[in-house]
C-alpha cells in the first residue's frame, strides 16, 4: 500500500507536468488543427528561463530574496520567455502557412523544433544544468500523507498545476476571449463571420499554451533537477501522447491524458519494469490512434457527405 501510494504521488507529479504541456498541444490543435511539434522546445526554454532567474538571484544556496519570491519570479520569467517564443513561432513559422496544405505547417513545426534545439545549444551550450532544488527547499520539508512523506516541491508542482488547470478551465468557459477561443475551435469561418478576430484568438492561444509549457519547464527543473537543451524532445512526444489519449483538441482531455501518462509511467516502472516505461507509453499512443483516435474526451471528426 505504501509503495502504491508513493508511486501514485510520483505519477501525479509527472502527470501534472505532462498535463500542462499537453494543454498547449491541444489548444493549438483546437484552433488551428495542426500539431505544434516545437512545443517541447518552448518548455525547454521555459526551464532555462527559470534557471536564469535562479542564477541572477544568487543561486539556490545564496538567494538574495526569500525562496517563495524566487520561485514566483522563476515561474513569471519562464512564462514570459516561453510566451515570447510561442508568439514568435506563431508569427514567423506558422502564420505564413495558414492557408497552405496541412502538411506545410507540420513540417515547419518540426523545423522550428530543431532550430530551437540548435539555438539552445548555442546559447546555453550542451552542458546540463541543475536547479539544485534540495538546497532551495530541503528534502525534509515534507507533508505526511498516510504512510509516506511528500516533499514540498512535489506538492508545489501538483498544486500549481491543478490551480492553473482550474484557472484555464474557468477562463475558457467564462471569459469573453475564452469563449472566442472555443468558437474559433468549433468553426473558425463562422466565428470570423460573427465578428471574432481569429488572428487575435490564435495569438492568445499560443500565448497561453506556451506560458503553461514554461511553467512545466520550471516544475521539471524544481522537482527533477537536471535541465538540458534536448529535454523538450521526449517530453514533447509524451505530452503529445497525453493529448491524443485525452482527446486532442479537448482541454479537459489534455489534463486527463497527462495524468494518465504520468500514472502509466510510474506504475509500469513499479509493477512491470523501468525498461518498458517508454514502450508502454508509446504503445498507448499507437493503440489510441488505431482504436480510438478521438481519445477519451475528444470530439469525433465529422465528414460532410
Amino acid at each position: 500500500m505504501e509503495n502504491f501510494l508513493q508511486q501514485t504521488v510520483n505519477g501525479l507529479t509527472l502527470g501534472s507536468v505532462y498535463a500542462l504541456l499537453a494543454l498547449g498541444y491541444s489548444m493549438v490543435y483546437g484552433v488551428l488543427k495542426f500539431l505544434n511539434f516545437a512545443h517541447g522546445e518552448v518548455y525547454m526554454f521555459g526551464a532555462f528561463a527559470g534557471y536564469g532567474v535562479l542564477t541572477v538571484l544568487g543561486g539556490p544556496s545564496a538567494l538574495m530574496v526569500p525562496v517563495w519570491a524566487a520561485v514566483a519570479l522563476m515561474f513569471v520569467a519562464s512564462m514570459a520567455v516561453a510566451s515570447g517564443i510561442g508568439l514568435a513561432l506563431e508569427r514567423f513559422a506558422y502564420r505564413p502557412l495558414r492557408n497552405a496544405s496541412r502538411l506545410a505547417p507540420l513540417i515547419s513545426a518540426i523545423g522550428a523544433s530543431f532550430f530551437l534545439q540548435a539555438a539552445a545549444l548555442l546559447l546555453f551550450s550542451a552542458n546540463s544544468r541543475s536547479y539544485e532544488a534540495p538546497e532551495l527547499i530541503p528534502i525534509d520539508t515534507a507533508m505526511t500523507v498516510g504512510p509516506i512523506d511528500v516533499w514540498a516541491v512535489r506538492i508545489l508542482v501538483i498544486v500549481t498545476a491543478v490551480v492553473l488547470m482550474i484557472l484555464l478551465t474557468w477562463w475558457v468557459q467564462r471569459s469573453r476571449v475564452g469563449k472566442a477561443v472555443r468558437a474559433v475551435s468549433f468553426d473558425s469561418e463562422a466565428a470570423a463571420m460573427m465578428g471574432i478576430d481569429v488572428d487575435r484568438v490564435i495569438v492568445v492561444t499560443f500565448l497561453i499554451g506556451s506560458a503553461l509549457a514554461g511553467v512545466g519547464g520550471v516544475m521539471v527543473g524544481l522537482v527533477f533537477g537536471r535541465i538540458f537543451h534536448l529535454m523538450g524532445f521526449v517530453a514533447g512526444l509524451k505530452a503529445f501522447t497525453a493529448a491524443v489519449v485525452g482527446g486532442i483538441g479537448s482541454i479537459p482531455g489534455a489534463m486527463l491524458g497527462g495524468l494518465l501518462i504520468g500514472f502509466a509511467e510510474a506504475y509500469t516502472t513499479a509493477y512491470i519494469s523501468s525498461t518498458f516505461q517508454n514502450l508502454i507509453v508509446f504503445a498507448l499512443l499507437i493503440t489510441f490512434l488505431l482504436i480510438r483516435p478521438s481519445g477519451f474526451l475528444g470530439r469525433p471528426e465529422l465528414a460532410k457527405v
Binding site: G84, S128, A266, S274
Partner: protein, 394 residues
C-alpha cells in the same frame, strides 16, 4: 525582451566552457614558441638536419552532457603538449575536436583526422561508444592510425581496432574490483540500474555476474540516459537493499537519483562507476570507482600536478590518463625522429606498441598488451565525504 535577454545571459554565464580555448578540427593550433632551429632537430644518416614535426589530434566531449570530462581532458592534453614541446624544443602541433559525447560527431572527427595527412596519431575519444564510432572509421581508412583512449574501459574493444590503445584499465578489472569491494562491505542485496548504453550494460553485466557468484542477491533495472525522473524507480528499491550500483555516465543523473532516494527515505549506499566520478555527484557516504589514482598522493607526479594547476583551474581523475596517453604518443614520435626517420602513421604506431615506461604520472608502468590494453591495469575506489572531497579507500 530585455528580461529574456538578461535570463539568457544568466543561463549562459554558468557552467559554460570555462576559459579553455577550443579550436575546431578544421583549424590547426600551434603551441606557443617558434619552430626550433637547432634544438629539436635530428640528424639523418646523410648528415642533413631534420626537424621533428608531427601533428597529434585530440577528440573529447568538451561540451555536452559530460563536459566535465572533456574540459579537463583537453586541458591535460594541452598541458602535455606544451610541456613536451618545451622539454624537447619540439613544435608538435595539435588539432582539437569536440565530439559532444556523440557517436556521429566522433565518426566525423575521425574522418577529418584521417584526411589530415600531417596527423600521425590522436588521443581520444573518451567513451567506448564514441571509440566504436571513431575506431570503425580509422580501421576502414587507415589501420596504421594510432588512437589512445584515456577513459574507454569496455573490455575487448582494443581487439577490434588495430590502432587502438588505452591508458586506463578495462571493465574486466572494474567489474570484479567493484563486486569484491561490495562483498567485502557486507552487501547482501544490491539494486543495480544500467543506463542502456553499451558501457553501462557491459559493466553492469560484469558486476552482476561477480556478485551473483558470491551469493549476493541482485535486482537489475534499466533506464535511459535522457530520463531525469527516477522517483518511480527509486520506489521499487527493496527495503533490505544495502547497496545501489549505478554504472552511469551522466553523473548529474546520479545526484538526482540520490536526492529522490533521500526523498523516499531509502537508506542504501550508492556505488557509482567511473562515469559518475564528477563534481556533479556529491552524495556523502557514496562510493565511486576510478580508473586513475589521486595523483596528488603520488610523489613523482606532484610536480606535474602543480605545473598543471598553475595554468588550469580544475582537474579530476579523467585528466592524468590523458597526459599519460599524450606522452606515450609524443615519446613514440620522438623515438622515430631519433632513429632518423620521418614520423608517419606506421612507424609511430610501431613505436607506441613498443612503449615501455617504467613509471608514469599514474604511478605505475605503462606498456601495452598485443591488443593495446594496459599490461598492468588497476581500479581505485573513493568515498565521497561531507565536504564533497573524495578519500581513497584502501
Amino acid at each position: 525582451m530585455l528580461l529574456a535577454l538578461a535570463l539568457v545571459a544568466a543561463a549562459c554565464g554558468d557552467g559554460g566552457g570555462g576559459d579553455t580555448t577550443t579550436t575546431s578540427a578544421d583549424d590547426t593550433t600551434t603551441t606557443e614558441g617558434e619552430t626550433p632551429t637547432t634544438a629539436g632537430e635530428t640528424t639523418t644518416t646523410g648528415g642533413e638536419p631534420m626537424v621533428c614535426e608531427a601533428t597529434v589530434g585530440f577528440i573529447g566531449p568538451v561540451t555536452g552532457p559530460v563536459a566535465f570530462i572533456g574540459e579537463v581532458q583537453l586541458n591535460w592534453f594541452n598541458y602535455a603538449l606544451d610541456t613536451f614541446n618545451a622539454e624537447m624544443s619540439y613544435s608538435f602541433q595539435s588539432v582539437e575536436g569536440d565530439n559532444q559525447f556523440d557517436t556521429a560527431q566522433s565518426a566525423t572527427l575521425a574522418q577529418q583526422f584521417l584526411d589530415n595527412t600531417a596527423m600521425v596519431a590522436a588521443v581520444g575519444p573518451a567513451g567506448s561508444d564514441q571509440v566504436d564510432a571513431a575506431g570503425a572509421v580509422y580501421e576502414a581508412g587507415d589501420p596504421n592510425f594510432t588512437f589512445i583512449s584515456p577513459s574507454s574501459t569496455r573490455s575487448g574493444i582494443t581487439a577490434q581496432y588495430t590502432g587502438m590503445f588505452r591508458t586506463v584499465p578495462t571493465d574486466d578489472d572494474q567489474g570484479p574490483t567493484t563486486a569484491d569491494f561490495l562483498v567485502a562491505q557486507g552487501a547482501e542485496n544490491v539494486f543495480m540500474v544500467d543506463d542502456q548504453s553499451s558501457y553501462s550494460t557491459g559493466l553492469a553485466d560484469s558486476v552482476e555476474e561477480n556478485l551473483t557468484a558470491a551469493s549476493v542477491t541482485v535486482t537489475r533495472e534499466s533506464v535511459a540516459q535522457d530520463v531525469t525522473d527516477f522517483s518511480a524507480l527509486v520506489g521499487t528499491i527493496p527495503d533490505d537493499t544495502n547497496f545501489v550500483y549505478l554504472p552511469w555516465q551522466v553523473a548529474a543523473n546520479g545526484q538526482i537519483f540520490a536526492n529522490q532516494m533521500a526523498e523516499q527515505g531509502k537508506e542504501a549506499v550508492i556505488f557509482g562507476s567511473d562515469g559518475m566520478d564528477s563534481d556533479d555527484f556529491t552524495q556523502a557516504g557514496s562510493y565511486i570507482a576510478a580508473f586513475a589514482p589521486d595523483i596528488a598522493a603520488i610523489e613523482g607526479s606532484q610536480s606535474i600536478l602543480e605545473g598543471y594547476l598553475a595554468e588550469y583551474d580544475d582537474t579530476n581523475t579523467f585528466g592524468p590518463p590523458v597526459y599519460a596517453a599524450a606522452r606515450v604518443i609524443f615519446e613514440a614520435i620522438a623515438r622515430v625522429c631519433e632513429a632518423g626517420e620521418v614520423p608517419d602513421r606506421a612507424n609511430v604506431q610501431a613505436e607506441v606498441r613498443n612503449t615501455d615506461q617504467a613509471d608514469s604520472i599514474l604511478g605505475s608502468p605503462i606498456s601495452f598488451t598485443d591488443d593495446g590494453d594496459l599490461a598492468e591495469g588497476q581500479f581505485f575506489i573513493f568515498q565521497i565525504q561531507e565536504d564533497g572531497s573524495k578519500t581513497l579507500v584502501p
